[in-house]
Amino acid sequence: MSERKKPEGLTGAGMGRRGFLKTATLAGTGAVAQGVVAAGQPAEQPTPRRHSVQMASREAEQGTPPPVTTTQASCGSDFMVDVMRHVGIEYVAAIPGNTFKGLHESVINYGMTSTPALELVSCMHEEMSVAMAHGYAKVAGKPMACMMHSTVGLQHGAMALYNAYADRVPVFAIVGAILDAKDRHGYVDWQHSVFDGPALVRDFTKWDDTPLSLSHFAESALRAYKFSMTPPWGPTVLAVDQELQEGAVAKGTTLLIPKLPQIAPPAGDAGAVREIARVLVAAERPLIVADRAARTPEGLRLMVELAEALQAAVVDVSGRMNFPWRHPLNQTQRRAELAAQADAILGLELTDYWGVIGGRLAPGVKRISISSIDLFMKSNYQDFERFTPVDLAIAADAEATLPALVEEVRRQTSSGRRTFFKARGIALAKDHRDSLEQSRNAAAVGWDSQPITTARLCAEIYEQIRNEDWALCNGTVFQNYWPQQLWTATQHHQYIGDAGAYGLGYLPGASVGAALAHRQHGRLAVAIGGDGDLMFSPGALWTAAHHEIPLLYVVHNNRAYHQEIMFVQSMAVKRQRGIDRAHIGNAITEPNVDFAKLAASIGLYSEGPVLDPAELGPALRRAVAVVKQGHPALVDVICQGR
């Protein structure tokens, strides 16, 4: 990857934790001169940065701002920037809104010009801001902040927060507020005021607060961060009053930033872990099913250890990169068959246990669950899926429980069982090879078809990236899981799962956010997304162009909200009516969308529409070359529906 241009004064990316803490301390001590100190950190070598903060108009959305009447040297929102840096946040995604103009100004004039840098990522829609934070967190393993306007901004961002919540992903959301009526000047300020703004998203966020002082903000921010990063991960919201952001901090005021704790995820009870190990070791046909089990690279490594200790079949539901795609014990393609045959099923962070077992509650089968979802669940939105009776449900984080489980499995495995496991592993390895052969044969069918098959699409993409450090940023259900069937993926960052709640408009923002996190590692980020999804939020591509975020975005263009075509046709058939009109309201034709032109118009290199499969490889090759130079590129491919 080529060197990326950076604004002057910013330090290099990829700073280690130790380095970060050092600079965080400096930032904190820098704020000491303004009366701010991070708790437990020495106040030495102050490096004060003072900025004259213009009080922007409260009526900015109604017309010309009034003349500046005061200046100030230190303000609440500078302190908020320090707090965000203190917890390790590096980016804030936002589209502007005057209820957080104080914080906006602090980010760009204080956060972006001092270290460690807190960079503003400029967005086109709050839904994309949140989606960007969603995708980023799944790669970086920590939250990105996103600022949203009061009322209308949070309403725009709400669906994306639901996606993040259902996908168990941390997002540090901040929404502006004008709490005091005396501060609302004019018609629009009242339209943009709400007594309890976060109530809108309370059903699908982990926690929220509306701090009334800067000390309160610091405590709530730390609490929000801690909650969001304690499994099950999830988004939090802080409503931040305009006056709190914009008000001056009196000289001599001491503001404490609480110490950030090291967060230990909840591990399963030792006795329960022993019992799981006993069941798994004794089972003839155990099946391990993982959904969002591997939160980190360590989780992936532990998944492999557990499977290999048992020589047990693993089915990856693909909520995350839970298991290497070409590992001999990966039996994902045989999911239904193995679930029906298993005598013990271990579900790890499995949202839809019922779906995995196909609704069959076979007698004599030991069903076990380890899930942090049992520790935190709300009632209104029903993303907890159908209740499935299990024999043992451990409310704990699966990844945190795996070390003890692996150790216990090894301890309980006799030499006789080890011999049996070895034979089982050999048989499963053959099954994996057979599945791969079947997938390849299936992929060959219609190889030269037009529109291009999704198998060919995925094979052509892989051909261009397989020798790179690639990272796929999309879920693959709408591409029939061809990447999992045909590609070789071994590392945690190579796959991050899907939207969580299947809310359309996720991928453009999420893939740009993920690509931003990949950028500092020099990885080649790739996203394959539907045309309908892209039509929801094409502005995210502008963000990629504006911030020079390298990403290969391939449009799986079936010119429809294709899933719905199938549903509507089923309904028409059921009602014995015409079945040739299901495209109405579902097709994205007349006119066809030219995504290459759309992307080019907002600054991306683009190719397409590609209709001929023979032209797909060269088009992708050219686009990959652009991405490797550090820029985003889009290839529009006219594809089969699925």
Binding site: G446, W447, S449, K574, I579, G641
Partner: protein, 121 residues
Amino acid sequence: MQTFFSRLVAAAVAALVVFGSPGAVADEQRSNATEGKRLFLADGCYQCHGTTGAGGGTAGPHLAPDPLPLEAVKAKLRTASGRMPVYTAAVISDAQIAAIVAYLQGIPRGKAAKDIPLLNH
């Protein structure tokens, strides 16, 4: 009395009248397949099974090449289960099913996976 040969000629002529010439049969098959393709695309089979019957993974299995025999396809359509809707005669006639099968039968077998480099990494 007609000779055996003359009876054979007469039978052949009669057969041509009834069934058409070999060329006409081929034309009719082509015409049927064309209509089948139109139905396949217009009536939504392609949505789950792909425009060439290659299949759509979880959405629908592959239908071609080597489609099921006509009677099997008819049975599938009339008594479908799961995601596949039931297509009654009121929605699609036996003749139309026959046309669709003719289209699927005409789809050529493509390259084998072993002959496609991209599928052999």
